[in-house]
């Protein structure tokens, strides 16, 4: 019988909803959720591939030890034995993919503390370091987050970076607002011409950090209230700007009855500056953050004690960490500019849990098949999602695998219930001084990580049928 189940896309932070049609618990079709009040059922190129993600030919369904298919208990026993054997001699680390649910991330944090005894947990978000994580926590202002519908109604929208490329669904709302009335402003601040800036009424190319700090000054000069008490400091630290585009944008942002700042978050400094602009401009201004991982924000707020993936890799390289668990992400392909394969060879033991066959799996001693977010229950970005289908074969969610491992190691991990989210820190004078100092430094801009051709962690890039079709030249 055909059953329709609603779910949410986690391939970027916009969170578009769609319908998966199942027959006898097998996903057969993806349908557009036409009646959705927020998006109207539209999906970008990434979202259209949801069905292929579920029924992917490279899905892992059986646990393996050194390339041989084994049963669960054997794989768990082998992993726990190795972890116990190495615990006295060396450190252990765990890397978790950014698409895990909040519960799974909390379980991983508990596992790192109680079973590995090191607390070395890294969450993987597109870049190897923790800039995305920092940026996300820094860009949150209480009660000021904009929804897609706010963007659709705004009369002045300023985009920083290239949000249209990361989340094309945002473009629909922005352009609707831009064309709704003559005189509506859509400004773009970016380091070069891009997909977003082509649609701007006002755009300025240059260093995004510098331009944002200039915008902050203009906004501080023009706005009335001063709820954070930072205006004096801003005027003292940032020189007045003559840049006509930025002045025009700042004036419009303050004057307009409904203004939204859209930020493509990759850089913590820009995130802080953007949240400062919105805080200083007035109480009715809103901030919308776009990032490449759907659940990144939820995980960042729930899990505090993490290190960066690059730090773990460096520790492996120096022989500090000898046993490593990698869950759900492909670190070999996912971290550009480092020869990860050579580093992984220095490990005594590597356990990989992944939904798909990937490059990291090649060096793994034990492989666990894992479930995608469409197959597990959990909190993703503030939404409680139910599974639309069962995981294939023996695949299990990350949290269940870690709990089984802990049990085999003689420790019981409880079922985690996420705590209420703490309100993020308010911007104060000290942090403002630091970010303004940093914003004056010219740094290379981090590249946009998600494009049409690049999925969540980049691991599926070479496996998408569409790309293979593009490469195959029949002529």
């Amino acid at each position: 019988m055909l059953v329709q189940k609603k779910s949410t896309c986690m391939l970027c932070s916009v969170g578009c909803e769609f319908i998966i049609e199942t027959i006898d618990d097998e996903a057969v079709n993806l349908e557009y959720d036409k009646d959705n009040p927020v998006t109207g059922g539209v999906l970008c190129a990434k979202g259209n591939y949801m069905l292929e993600l579920i029924n992917h030919p490279l899905r892992l369904i059986e646990p393996q030890i050194n390339g041989k298919v084994v049963d669960w208990n054997e794989a768990i026993r082998k992993t726990s034995d190795e972890l116990l054997a190495h615990r006295e001699k060396s450190d252990a680390g765990i890397i978790l993919a950014g698409d895990a649910s909040v519960e799974d991330a909390k379980t991983a944090e508990l596992f790192a503390e109680t079973c590995l005894g090191t607390g070395r947990l890294a969450i993987y978000f597109a870049t190897g370091d923790d800039t995305v994580q920092k940026a996300l926590t820094m860009a949150s202002i209480p009660n000021r987050a904009a929804g897609l519908n706010d963007i659709g109604k705004s009369t002045c929208t300023i985009a920083v970076g290239n949000p249209f490329e990361v989340g094309p669904v945002i473009a629909g709302k922005v352009l609707k607002a831009r064309y709704a009335r003559r005189g509506n402003i859509f400004g773009v601040i970016s380091n070069k011409e891009n997909m977003t800036s082509r649609f701007a009424t006002i755009h300025h190319y240059g260093n995004e950090r510098k331009l944002l700090s200039q915008l902050l000054r203009v906004v501080a000069d023009r706005s009335e209230g001063d709820e954070l008490g930072l205006k004096k400091l801003i005027k003292e630290l940032i020189p007045a700007t003559e840049n006509p585009d930025v002045v025009k944008l700042g004036e419009a942002f303050v004057k307009s009855p409904s203004s939204v700042l859209i930020l493509e978050t990759q850089d913590p400094v820009k995130a802080q500056l953007a949240s400062a602009v919105v805080s200083v401009a007035g109480a009715d201004k809103r901030l919308f953050c776009v990032n490449t991982y759907g659940n990144a924000k939820g995980i960042c707020e729930a899990v505090k004690s993490t290190v960066s993936v690059n730090e773990i890799i460096t520790a492996v390289d120096h022989g500090v960490i000898k046993t490593l668990i990698v869950l759900g992400t492909d670190i070999v392909k996912g971290i550009p500019g480092r020869n990860i394969e050579a580093v992984l060879e220095k490990l005594d033991f590597l356990a990989v849990g992944a939904p798909f066959g990937n490059e990291t799996k090649q060096s793994a001693n034990v492989i666990f098949p894992t479930a995608l977010w469409l197959e597990t229950e959990g909190i993703y970005n503030g939404k409680h999602l139910q599974p639309v289908i069962d995981p294939p074969g023996a695949a299990l969610p990350y949290g269940d695998i870690l709990r089984q491992l802990a049990e085999a190691m003689g420790k019981a991990l409880p079922q985690v219930t996420p705590e209420p989210v703490e309100a993020p820190q308010q911007l104060n004078e000290e942090t403002l001084r630091v970010i303004l100092k940093e914003s004056m430094e010219t740094v290379p801009e981090p590249a946009v990580q998600s494009t049409v051709t690049q999925f969540a962690d980049g691991s599926l890039t070479s496996n998408i049928q569409w790309l293979q079709l593009q490469e195959r030249d029949a002529w």
Partner: protein, 162 residues
């Protein structure tokens, strides 16, 4: 008669239409993207012309225009000679269309989906609402929109704010 239209003001070139088309039409991409320098990747749409050159050019009667005014390709009759590709004045069929590999690759305005009361896949997925599936008469009479090249063969598929 409903046709596909592209509102140029709204197209950001994300290529979602192409992927949706591929998914619905069993991996055969019928809606292609072409790169317009300085603008982006725009979809190239079949106009389902009134007097289609591809139908006239086909030596095997594989290309037909049926009573619903939809130009279709019959995969059983198609030999992959590419006469239609050469004949199409808009370059719709030649945009990387791999006839031998995908004999199904021809836009039929998702007639099976439309019969079920849904929109064509490319229209349903378009993130900005640039692709529209609307009555020709309504589109031509709308205020505040200009149909570009409306005197060309068949119907033009591009609209823009004046």
């Amino acid at each position: 008669m409903k046709k596909l239209f592209l509102q140029l003001d709204l197209c950001i070139g994300c290529q979602a239409h192409s992927l949706a088309c591929q998914r619905v039409r069993n991996q055969a991409v019928t809606l292609q993207s072409t790169c317009v320098e300085g603008v982006g990747n725009l979809p190239v749409l079949c106009r389902h012309c009134e007097d289609p050159a591809c139908v006239a050019a086909c030596p095997n009667d594989a290309m037909t225009r049926d009573e619903d005014n939809i130009v279709r390709r019959n995969p059983a009759r198609c030999t992959g000679c590419r006469s239609c590709v050469l004949a199409c004045p808009f370059g719709v069929l030649s945009q990387g269309m791999k006839l031998q590999v995908f004999p199904l690759g021809k836009c039929d305005l998702c007639s099976s989906r439309v019969a079920e009361g849904k929109q064509p896949a490319c229209v349903a997925t378009c993130p900005t609402g640039a692709l529209r599936f609307e009555e020709v008469d309504e589109i031509y009479g709308k205020e505040g929109e200009t149909v570009i090249g409306s005197h060309s063969v068949g119907y033009s598929t591009y609209i823009r704010r004046p």
